[in-house]
Symmetry: D3
Subunit: 154 residues, 6 copies
């Protein structure tokens, strides 16, 4: 509609901005050249048995200490066997990511949940619980309901 | 420390304010006197096989239509059998309530999860996943990481 | 700047990712083929007196029970006449959606508000209230101000 | 009251902690002694035609510049006549405060709304809209629904 | 995969929607024609010693009173010298914007922080603190830990 | 006002509930009896050069693995020297905790910041930045402002 001017330019360039991170995403070549980062990427690939390393790790690569600590935590919390099954953990992860409005995390963990066998019916029930909880959270907060003594830890 | 003045009064009365809701909490006698509200309370007691009705419903009683619709949804989403087990649903509920910082809901649904068999080990793993997700949500948002094409729905 | 490699690919494909949902969006043909979903879509079109059905419902179509319950609630809460006028309800809806950082909902309900007569001046005052509330919320929380006894429900 | 141990002491004192702010709440005597703070308090009392000044302003009194700017904004946004009526503004304020989980603001603005005539029926409808919006926000975010082109500003 | 139909159209147009604001973005020509808006833009350019005026102000231009008040506050809070250095203020700003999931603000203030000298190491430490705080916030809320009396303001 | 009945009981007991956590808070005696937990508590006391161990760690003690990992991260992120000074880190921590509405974390880290020298003037400027950011976050989200191309990482 408009052929020139800052307004038009802004909107055109904005079309590109959703590919912008606030830090560089590391290429495989850049990863190869940094032994500390490469060691984490090698472990991600070996642990997941896949060559694909998603953008989250490519952005964290700018901060090797943070990269190492975050991957160590993810491995310990999400991958090591425990008392909650892996799919349940992914659903909890998506629930948190949804309320925090983290588009990246909703996408990556919904994909992970599907890879771990999430069915459409389970996804539907998950969505219903997240919606129901959001609704009653709003009601309880707007009404400032006092906690019942019956809920005390024994 | 202080014997008089508004400051002191404010702090004393504030000690009471956490028992304040922004609407009246209905007593059993008040519930008895309102057939529409009573019908919901009767169904809550029958469904849960318990005489205890927590404050959430006593606050919603001010709004019979909202009370009816909310209880119908809770019953359908949380109580009717489906493909997710009841404990998993409670964990998703607590995860949402935690991120929404709803103290009432965290308390009531942690109590509900324990009643459904949540062990300390499971609670610990749940907490670890919620903490991990919160951490990576913050990182992904601060870094504005673009979603990988590999996460697209097939 | 780069002609090949995962980094470049990731950023190109990311350009597409904002059209990705985490579930399929149903086409009209798919809706036609499912009587349960079709019944809801027919009611949406009849109620709104418009052929346009927005993506929200096309995504919920994957979960017929959730679709039915959500549409029934929206119809009851937002469309049935009550004591708050329709435009006021839309403003409350946008306020909630803004704080929850739900881009989809901010867009859809701002469009709905304009369709119901929201003027630029009203939008400006709405924005000022939302901004003011966000500011004082942050101050009250950072200062952990105790609630005054004077605010108790009579 | 107690015989020994940090744990027990902590829990007893915690019963008091909800009267703690993270900054001093100014008494009337302290306000009197500071001309800059006193001028704002005088204007609050004159504008509201009431001697009661709530804790929010008593906490901001520690920061005279912030106190002045915040009161000036509140006066301009919430009190000066405009195109939205005062009750509608309060409902938007409570909606924002609810999603931000600001207990103080939910209490103070629900009290303000009642003072401006909010009826129980209106409060019920308000709660229903806030709950509905929270629910659909969660669904739209969990599903990452792409915005329809039809919602574009004309 | 699909050549026609609403589904396809929706997804194509959605590719454009991330350039959509919910209000018009003012061009330089439009700004020139409105003395009140122009005065703010002139002051932004003079204060920042740059011709570039970002989209935030072009959207606020629809509401001159809000534009004036917001710019006056930004100038007072972020630009006037005080006891916190400008880079620290930007880091606080990005932290708030991250938790509020405001993509625009994360981008604009990360760019501003870099312009004020933020190094990659500082950015990494900032990210680590934001992630750590998010994690412990979730733990403290899920555990509903009572505040220690030792934290009371002296 | 009322001498008996569930309503009254609920409100009385609610007065106690703010001392309730959703898990046991460990006493010093309980910590002594568990070598794994005791090792962490010993390190907290040695690192901080203080006998006081706050409730956060007493609640995490129920989950030794989570306790160890969280303390290790806190020590690395908040205590080890880096490029951001300790007070700046605390301010970022409080900013995150405020937006997440974590009362416990706001209290504990405001106390920590004061212990590290935070002055009233600095606190006032910090509050002003957090309030300003919250306000503009709301405006940018409600307006869905597209990111300027100028903010791209170089």
């Amino acid at each position: 509609m408009k052929l020139a001017g800052i307004h038009f330019a802004a909107r055109i360039t904005a079309g590109r901005n959703h590919t912008m991170a606030t830090a560089k995403l590391w290429t495989d070549a850049e990863v190869e050249a940094n032994p500390r980062v490469r060691a984490v990427f090698d472990d991600i690939r070996a642990t997941r048995k896949s060559d694909f390393v998603n953008n989250f790790w490519r952005a964290l690569a700018n901060q090797p200490a943070l990269l190492e600590r975050t991957w160590a935590s993810i491995k310990s919390v999400m991958i090591e066997p425990g008392t909650l099954d892996p799919l349940t953990k992914e659903l909890i992860y998506i629930a948190v990511s949804t309320v925090n409005s983290c588009a990246y995390c909703v996408h990556s963990h919904t994909a992970a949940a599907r890879a771990k066998g999430l069915t459409d019916d389970q996804h539907g029930e998950f969505l219903a619980v997240v919606a129901m909880a959001s609704e009653t959270n709003a009601l309880a907060t707007a009404l400032q309901i006092p906690v019942d003594a019956e809920f005390a830890v024994q």
